[in-house]
Symmetry: C2
Subunit: 230 residues, 2 copies
C-alpha cells in the first residue's frame, strides 16, 4: 500500500521545515518504509484529505489517516512490528513522551526566539500573513521584537541542553549506539532551525552539534538532503 506523508513547506516546496514532519520522515526511514511526500503551506492544511486535520504531519497509509507526529510513530510501531523498532519496548515508548515533553518545553520555545522571523520570511505570502498574526497574538510582541535580543539568548539556551549533552557526549545517540524515535524527536527541533534560519547558535564542537551531524547522516543522509538555510 502506498504511504504519503504530508509535510509543511514555505515558498520552496523542496525545503520541508516542520520539526514534527521531520520526526515522521526519519521514523519512516527508520522503519524502512517506502513513502512519497506531499507538501502544504500553513493555510493549505485545512484543505488536505477533506479537512482531516488542522496540523501536519498527516500520514496516509492506504486508506488510513493519522495526524500528530507521536501518534504516527505509534501507528507505525504497531502496524509494522517486524521492522526496526522506534521505541525499543513499552518503557521506551513511555519515556519517548518525556523526551517530547522536554523538547517541546525547553528547545522549541528557545528556538522560536532565535528563528521565528526567519521562519516567517521563508513562507508564501498568504502563510506569512497568517503566521505573523497568529504568532504575534500568541507572543504578545511583533516577530521582530520577539527575536531582537536573540544573540544574548544563545548562552542560556545552550545551558538548558546539558541533560542531552551529557548523554550524547558519551554515546553516539540519545538512545545508545543507534537511534530510536526519541533521537528523531530532538533532531526534528534542530532540523527545524537548520532549514529555516541561517542564524548559527550551536558551537561546532558542542557534543549536541556532533550528535546532530550524526543524525543528519542517518538513512543515507535523509536530513542532510535539504541544505541548511543560508
Amino acid at each position: 500500500m502506498a504511504i504519503t506523508l504530508y509535510e509543511l513547506v514555505g515558498r520552496d516546496a523542496a525545503r520541508p521545515f516542520s520539526p514534527h514532519c521531520w520526526k515522521v520522515r526519519m521514523a519512516l526511514r527508520h522503519k524502512g518504509l517506502d513513502f512519497q511526500c506531499a507538501t502544504a503551506g500553513f493555510t493549505e492544511i485545512p484543505g488536505l484529505e477533506g479537512g482531516y486535520s488542522k496540523i501536519v504531519p498527516i500520514l496516509k497509509d492506504g486508506e488510513t489517516l493519522v495526524a500528530d507526529s507521536f501518534a504516527i510513530a505509534e501507528y507505525l510501531e504497531d502496524t509494522y512490528p517486524d521492522r526496526p523498532s522506534l521505541f525499543g519496548g513499552e518503557g521506551g515508548r513511555a519515556l519517548s513522551r518525556f523526551v517530547e515533553s522536554w523538547s517541546q518545553r525547553t528547545i522549541h520555545p528557545a528556538l522560536a526566539r532565535l528563528a521565528v522571523l526567519d521562519i516567517h520570511d521563508i513562507l508564501g505570502e498568504a502563510d506569512q500573513a497568517y503566521f505573523r498574526e497568529s504568532r504575534e497574538k500568541a507572543f504578545g510582541a511583533t516577530l521582530e521584537a520577539f527575536v531582537a535580543d536573540r544573540a544574548e539568548r544563545v548562552a542560556p539556551f545552550l545551558k538548558t541542553l546539558e541533560p542531552l549533552r551529557a548523554i550524547v557526549g558519551r554515546q553516539p545517540f540519545l538512545c545508545g549506539e543507534s537511534p530510536l524515535f526519541a533521537d528523531y524527536i530532538v533532531f526534528g527541533a534542530f532540523q527545524w532551525a537548520r532549514v529555516s534560519s541561517p542564524f548559527q547558535f550551536l558551537p561546532q564542537d558542542d557534543p549536541v552539534a556532533l550528535w546532530f551531524e550524526r543524525c543528519l547522516a542517518l538513512h543515507e543522509g535523509e536530513g542532510a538532503k535539504v541544505p541548511a538555510a543560508a
Copy 2:
C-alpha cells in the same frame, strides 16, 4: 541469598535521605526482593565492605557488590529478569539515563540551593565537618549564603519541572499507568528534600506534588514510612 542495601543517614539512622539510595530501595521493592538495610554516615562510607566504594548506595547480593544507583538497577534487571521490569525494555533502559541526566542537572542543583543547610544540620558531627568543607569548596560559598535567597528560587525552579508536570498531569506516573525505574529516579530527588528539609516548595495541587504522593504510597507506602522533616 541475602541482599543488603547500604544507605546514607545522618544522626538518625531511621531516616535515610540520599536520593540515590531511595532510587534503589524503590527498585528493590519494585522487584519484590527481600533485603535488609545497613546505614552509614558520609565519613563511614570508605569503611564499608573493605573500602569497596566511595559512594552509596552499595548493594551486596550474596557475594556480589555493586555501587551506583543506575548500575544497581541494571544489575537487578539483568539478575532478576523474571520479576517486574524496571525499564520496560532496552529503549526504556536507554531513556532512563536521559531522565537521570535531566534530574541530576535540573532538579538536584535546584534542591541543593533549597535544602543544603538543612541537610548539613541532620548530619552527625564528623559528617557535618566533612560536608561543610567539601560543599563550601564546591559551591564557592558558605552553606548559609548558598541557601540565603531560597524563597526567590522556588518559582523559577517550579518552572523547570514543566516537562515532568505535563506528563504526570495526564497519567499517574512518568512511565504510564504504573511506575518504572525512571519514576524512582525523580522520586529519589524529591524524597531527598522531603526527608532532610522542612522547607516547603511544591504547591499541594501541583501535578508534580500529586505524582510524588502517589510515589510515596507505592509498595505499601515504602517512601512514606520515613516521616517528612519537621
